[in-house]
């Protein structure tokens, strides 16, 4: 009889009426290393957040049993009390404290230093601890001053002091380069040997696949499946991920391609993207696939001047363009539709009319605002986009799909012709997704071009003419929609 540490039964969670995960079943045996995979945003991170108490008990439905008792986490600290430790996708450290203080904060009583340990003593202890683990950093530095990589390393090293029973790792190596994988592998084998149960979410599983006992694959609809190490051959695994792709449900119109409108040559910043080159033609939808941390997002921002590019050239209409700020990008006819709609896409406390007019050039440049002309233009576009919202409502109250349409409306008004979409269908409902895909068709039929950055591979293969795969900042492959039969698993 297997000793089950954690079992989740029919976990469902919906936010703002949109179901994020549905009927997830997952069980972990004590001491196993369990890898969690999915095709796209089918809710792995949400699951990790539930297990770490970020979505408190009661916000989801279904039951979680931990050590044969029902798990009721009200705040993240409750999870720590149960010795459930989570490493999140983003760094969670106190930025304005020293490394030493971070290391010794919130530790279980066994390893915690005495209550009134002075900072000097903590720094001394921390320096010893760090050099013990082959990571000689001065622990009196503020976390803020460290690179992303050092921050992650500190978080991971802290695990040695935490003594977890269940360790949840959400894309832990996304920002770690291959060079430092050994450090991460040592950590994994250390905890595995100690009998700690590990639940890991990662796309870069090749390096530690030999340590894995079970793999669960989540799917958007229907139950997921779990396979054990013995049934697993590595080439099978990536195959499993793409097995039930359905390209044909995406409304896609093949449009005749025109002139080259954008060309990137050897784009690099020194860290996350290296030597990226591609061309985009008129009427084309070019997709970029990469897991989080692969450089996909940095590239999308670099093309709009939101992130600096240290070398390489971007050509717009065959002329070299210096996109150093979003303003210049807008002047060149580039639109950027962000993935973080609520924080960066809309002005939350302004009404819809002000939101769509917020791009330079959308104003009629008169002293008077909210004129009839503006109202009429809003009404005309809103009708065309099937958006039944008064221009006076406040942006904060919109659903994901409505927000996306409103942002798109703003850019269409500004007569942009190169659209950069970053995760355009993330956390929006299916009907709005269909609308967004069909709007892509309308855009390309009218001569615009689209760059689509997404972590949803099925969507990319469904709507793009070509998909470029990005892995660790480099282009690892390219497929066109026509010859999808070729094996694409190697590019992940």
């Amino acid at each position: 009889m297997k000793d089950i540490l954690l079992s989740c039964e029919d976990i469902s969670l919906s936010l703002n009426g949109i179901s994020i995960i549905e009927n997830i079943n997952l069980s972990l045996n004590r001491g196993e290393f369990h890898l969690l995979l999915d095709k796209n945003g089918a809710g792995k991170t949400t699951m990790a957040n539930i297990l770490s108490g970020i979505y408190p008990y009661g916000s989801y439905s279904g039951n979680i049993y931990y050590k044969n008792k029902e798990l009721q986490l009200k705040i993240p600290k409750d999870a720590l009390k149960e010795n459930i430790v989570t490493i999140h996708q983003d760094i969670c450290l106190f930025e304005d404290m020293t490394i030493a203080e971070n290391l010794y904060a919130n530790l279980p009583s066994k390893t915690a230093p005495k209550t009134f340990t002075s900072l000097e003593k903590k720094i001394k202890m921390a320096n010893e601890f760090l050099s013990e683990h082959d990571c000689p950093i001065d622990s009196s530095l503020l976390v803020r001053q460290c690179s992303q990589f050092i921050k992650r390393k500190i978080e991971l090293l802290r695990l040695y002091l935490m003594q977890p029973e269940l360790l949840i790792l959400d894309e832990p190596v996304a920002i770690v380069s291959n060079y430092d994988m050994k450090f991460f592998l040592d950590l994994l084998s250390y905890f595995k040997k100690k009998g700690v149960t590990i639940l890991c979410i990662s796309y870069n599983y090749e390096a530690f696949i030999h340590l894995v006992d079970h793999i669960s694959i989540f799917r958007e609809e229907g139950p997921g499946y779990t396979i054990s190490q013995s049934d697993l051959q590595q080439e099978d695994l990536s195959h499993l991920l793409v097995r039930d792709f359905c390209q044909n449900r995406y409304p896609k119109i093949d449009v005749k391609k025109g002139e080259e409108v954008l060309c990137a040559e050897n784009l690099s910043n020194d860290l996350t993207i290296k030597d990226i080159s591609f061309t985009l033609h008129q009427g084309e939808i070019l997709g970029f696939f990469g897991s989080s941390g692969s450089g996909r997002e940095t590239l999308s921002k670099a093309l709009f001047g939101l992130e600096p590019c240290h070398s390489g050239t971007i050509y717009i209409d065959r002329l070299p363009a210096h996109i150093t700020s979003p303003e210049k990008a807008i002047d060149l006819g580039i639109a950027y539709i962000t993935d973080d709609r609520s924080n960066y896409g809309l002005f939350q406390n302004l009404d819809l009319l002000e939101n769509v007019n917020s791009v330079k050039g959308n104003n009629y440049k008169s002293f008077w605002t909210r004129t009839h002309a503006e109202q009429n233009r809003y009404a005309w576009y809103a009708d065309k986009m099937n958006l039944e919202l008064s221009p006076d409502s406040i942006a904060r109250h919109l659903s994901g799909g409505e927000q996306q349409k409103l942002i798109l409306m703003r850019w269409i008004m500004s007569s942009a012709r190169i659209f950069i979409f970053n995760e355009p269908t993330q956390s929006i409902d299916i009907p709005s997704k269909i609308d967004v895909y069909n709007m892509f068709n309308d855009l390309v039929l009218k001569g615009a071009s689209i760059l689509l950055f997404s972590s949803n591979l099925e969507e990319l293969l469904g709507v793009c003419d070509r998909v470029i795969f990005i892995k660790q900042g480099l282009i690892s492959g390219e497929v066109s929609r026509m010859d999808i039969a070729q094996p694409i698993e190697d590019y992940f």
Partner: protein
């Protein structure tokens, strides 16, 4: 405005309103009343209208067939958009079936830039629109019994004739879609024809304006999963968008924003 164009405008206004007075015509067309009087006189000689004191009345009996050839103004845009999207799926050198119905008429109107396309249809109106707007496309009209109100051909002869073809793409007008009963059309003959053509085509599209969703028509064609691709307007109910996506059916919604 050119005189000829003005005459057309006057005809349009009269067809719509059945009558018109000289003063308002002069205002809308921005010419003097004398000009309008002269125009009305010309049209009276063509037996298009009868002049009255201060205006004119349409000679109704003159144009009984006009309702078949012209469409209701307010619904044209939704058919037009469907026709534009559908025509994107017709490649050069293909043989395509256009079913009986209004949507197909608008597909036929959008073929001007296609090369060597053959259109097979059973609807005389589709053939009419094709030869009028897209004269470059070859039209084959299937023979059969004529339905005098819709000018559609049907019956055994039509079915036998169609069976000699294999279509690359078929576009079929649907008159009603519900979750429970699936696709339905306005007559039994049309239902038979639709089922028949589905067997004879490599790929088939259902064309259906948004206001025909959640409506049942007379004769059932097949259940909701019958077609792999549906072309409709952007206003179609959310429940259908969701159902189709989850059941792996392509749904094209005709946005026309830019």
């Amino acid at each position: 405005m050119l005189p000829l164009k003005r005459l057309e405008e006057i005809k349009d206004i009269l067809t719509k309103n059945k009558q018109a007075d000289v003063i308002s015509l002069a205002q809308t067309l921005n010419v003097t009343e004398a000009t309008i009087r002269r125009d009305l006189e010309k049209l009276e000689n063509e037996h298009f209208l009868t002049r009255t004191h201060g205006g004119a009345v349409l000679n109704e009996s003159k144009h009984p067939e006009i309702s078949l050839f012209t469409l209701q103004e307010d619904s044209i845009e939704r058919y037009q958009n469907i026709g534009k999207i559908a025509s994107q799926f017709i490649q050069n050198n293909e043989t395509v079936f256009l079913g009986p119905g209004t949507c197909s008429r608008f597909v036929a109107r959008n073929l001007t830039n296609k090369v060597n396309v053959t259109i097979v249809t059973t609807d005389m109106m589709v053939a009419h629109d094709c030869s009028l707007y897209s004269p470059n496309a070859a039209v084959i009209l299937a023979g059969g019994n004529l339905n005098p109100t819709t000018l559609e051909l049907y019956g055994q002869t039509t079915d036998n004739f169609l069976e000699t073809f294999y279509f690359s793409t078929a576009f079929l007008d649907i008159d009603g879609i519900t979750m429970a009963r699936g696709y339905s059309v306005s007559s039994l003959n049309k239902a038979f024809l639709t089922q028949n053509v589905l067997k004879l085509s490599k790929k088939a599209f259902a064309l259906c304006p948004y206001d025909r969703f959640d409506v049942e028509s007379y004769a059932t064609v097949g259940d909701i999963n019958l077609f792999e691709s549906v072309i409709t307007n952007e206003r179609v109910a959310d429940s259908f968008k969701e159902y189709y996506f989850q059941h792996k059916i392509q749904l094209f919604a005709t946005f026309n924003i830019m």
